[in-house]
Symmetry: C2
Subunit: 457 residues, 2 copies
């Protein structure tokens, strides 16, 4: 099996750039193509993407690529969820153990950082404003269209599709025989809005939290930026099925928008002086889940990141899963002595079930974020979960922690979710659990349930 | 809401032709396009498709379109399954009540019949050898490529995609925002083979049965043709996962093919003098399930048949489901006084869940046909099901009967399948049920289970 020499990466977003760094570190000749202009020249892209939450898996991959040290400068730690109730009151729910946090980072800032690191590699070459026009999967070649409309063909030993949820590389794979493919759109869309910084540059609401206004079938969230502002996202059905259910379709006038925000997110309205202007200027985007299989074509083409597994943003794992793809594939190249066929086959076998699992977890977390975080019994469950974690740190880990603060495979986290859902259904039915949960008797009752479910607590 | 006048149908297969007849009956101006030559000139298409089993839903649609009277001449009734065991012994399982049968028909023969009936309509126009090149969904227009490579645009009031599992019309819909789509391939492929007629033109095995050689992970079937031959299909994994599991990949020599058939289907081998030649001459085809949503685009485009819901062939319902689409849509046009928007919206709402349900039922029936029909407990269940049906004809109907011999919506049949699976799990655990099932005490015990599950027996 010959060692591949020249690699084409289609897509210079977060995952494509990190992949280029990993392969550059291994001394491959890497050519990275992106249809956009170099964002380092144009300024960071804005308005298109949900703000990003970088957590353990992403950080670990960045560290493995040698980029980890730079992260603290562009991210803001969020130590928990700040729940905003309809009456304007707030409740803080820590995410994990003391000191654990996820990081709010700007997509543009992180992408520029990765491009800069990749750029220092003598064997990594950028080709901006070149759109992938066609792909020959067997030959690992691709035709790119330059901005003047001319086409040119690029040959390589392997072609990596890191070109996102609407991947052109995957589009060609889909036309091959026996390629399994699924795209599923939520009934909800999303719109980005802004809470600006105070005149002195400070944050007008708690800085170190992910803010959520959960309202059942819809929700509003806000993530802090380094400049004192917050990037906010409204998740709302495109069309409503019931008269009393708001939807983007109904928010068709300034009055309708203001009335909706005043009644749904009253404490946010004073923080958003440009609400109406932004609401009508910014697009309403859709939320897609993409599953496909296989992620590889012989040893000549493969998919990575959103191109392989686009997911909804509700677990904050899209980028983290893509970064983990890069790290795992790098480790598999090491394991298989840079024999790409073996590494790619194992990558497909190992990562595909995890891509499916995080897609399900992300969908599930929408229910948690929009509905359940406002439910007193769910809040009690979260408290008991954290108590169990501190009492039995080696035997019990909440699913959110497994996904966010560990690198346990997503498929195991999904299995654990089903197991814990069954366990906590029983725990929450324990007599007087509301009163007893943080007493020795409560601990003993919970421990008995955990033991009967097989936990070594 | 204006009444549509001119309709373009893409695809002149079974469903497209029947749709043309229904719309011709309503006096629409119908233009039907197909990329192939007129099969009435070239002779029926062979080798590509599994033989067809026409059952109640298909027959009912044909009757509603005024074509029903012709069917007996081109179909052979199959009154049950003839199970062929490994030792060459056979067991006959009737499909339904006395007199109930499904009909083995040739795809080519039925298609020619439908084209001939449609051709008699003054307002139905055929355009053969015109391939759908592009579609404008909003404008209900399509560009077709003639065999000489020239393009021309055709405008209409509505465009109907009846262009099969790899539909070009659906391909354009898929590029619209928020179109849900899934294609899923089985690990199994299929290959058509033949049992020729005896020299005197008679059938060398039982004529009025669907023959099955069930072998767990693979199976072989045979359906009778009017000329005395049988069209056979081998369903087998493309690649095996275990050393002892056969696959198409392993059958790479004459010896391997003969050895496989001799050990797996010993009684079939003497009936197939051309087995090896056919095996290597005929293609190995794949089996895809396609789900999508929505099936309509405003009131200007819609999908019907396999284009909307391609399914695996194991329930013999692909054509029947497509024909039922045509009948239901025709009824909805009547209900909504030929207002297409309302009829299309209700068609989408009503038929989509049924398309999903028959896709699941068809997948499930593969397990039944290849594995369970050889299981003695399953055979006992079938016998008890038929006994229940004859004892309580108004209160109990086996799922196979609901799907095959009724027009109860597929989604209800799917729900009933889950209900009956639970019921018969309990029935088969009744004491001495193997000995008692056809005695008064057995009847009473089964009746008690049915009553406790809510059946009014």
């Amino acid at each position: 099996m010959s060692k591949h020499q020249t690699i084409t990466i289609v897509g210079g977003g977060l995952v494509g750039s990190l992949c280029a760094i990993f392969l550059g570190n291994r001394d491959y000749d890497v050519h990275l193509f992106d249809r956009r202009r170099d964002m380092r020249l144009t300024g960071a892209e804005r308005g298109r993407s949900i703000n990003l939450a970088l957590s353990h898996r992403g950080l670990r991959a960045l560290e493995a690529a040698g980029v980890g040290a730079h992260i603290e400068t562009i991210g803001i730690p969020m130590r928990g969820r700040m729940i905003h109730n309809t009456d304007g009151g707030t409740v803080f729910q820590p995410y994990g153990k003391e000191g654990e946090a996820i990081y709010s980072v700007s997509r543009g800032g992180l992408n520029e950082l990765l491009l800069n690191v990749a750029d220092r590699h003598p064997h990594v070459h950028f080709h901006f404003e070149e759109r992938c026009h066609d792909v020959n999967l067997d030959a690992a070649s691709a035709v790119f269209m330059r901005s003047d409309g001319t086409l040119h063909e690029v040959k390589a030993d392997c072609l990596i599709g890191a070109d996102g949820a609407y991947s052109a590389v995957r589009g060609v794979m889909q036309k091959q025989g026996r390629f399994n493919y699924e795209q599923f759109y939520l009934d909800h869309g999303y719109k980005e809005l802004t809470i600006p910084a105070a005149p002195d540059g400070s944050w007008v609401v708690e800085k170190n939290a992910l803010h959520i206004w959960p309202r059942g079938r819809y929700m509003f969230i806000a993530l802090p930026n380094t400049d004192g502002s917050f990037t906010c996202t409204l998740f709302l059905p495109f069309k409503s099925n019931r008269a009393d259910e708001p939807s983007f379709e109904d928010l068709d006038s300034e009055e309708a928008v203001m009335q909706f925000f005043r009644s749904s997110f009253p404490d946010a309205v004073p923080c958003m002086p440009n609400l109406v202007e932004e609401f009508f200027a910014n697009p309403t985007s859709s939320l897609v889940t993409v599953r496909c299989s296989p992620w590889i074509h012989h040893d000549s083409a493969m998919l990575i990141g959103d191109a392989a597994h686009a997911i909804v943003p509700f677990y904050g794992q899209g980028m983290n899963a893509g970064f983990e793809d890069c790290r795992i594939f790098d480790e598999l190249l090491t394991k298989h002595d840079d024999h790409w066929l073996e590494a790619m086959q194992e990558y497909n076998t190992v990562r595909k079930p995890n891509g499916d699992a995080i897609a399900r977890l992300a969908m599930q977390n929408f229910v948690e974020m929009s509905e359940r975080v406002a439910d007193p019994m769910f809040l009690l469950r979260k408290k008991i979960e954290q108590r169990c974690q501190s009492l039995y740190p080696s035997a019990f880990q909440p699913v959110y922690s497994m996904v966010t603060f560990s690198h346990i495979p997503y498929s195991e986290a999904l299995k654990e979710m089903e197991r814990q859902d069954a366990v906590f259904e029983r725990v929450l039915r324990l007599e007087s659990i509301r009163e007893r949960w943080n007493t020795p008797e409560g601990d003993a009752a919970v421990q008995a349930v955990l033991i009967s479910a097989g936990y070594a607590v």
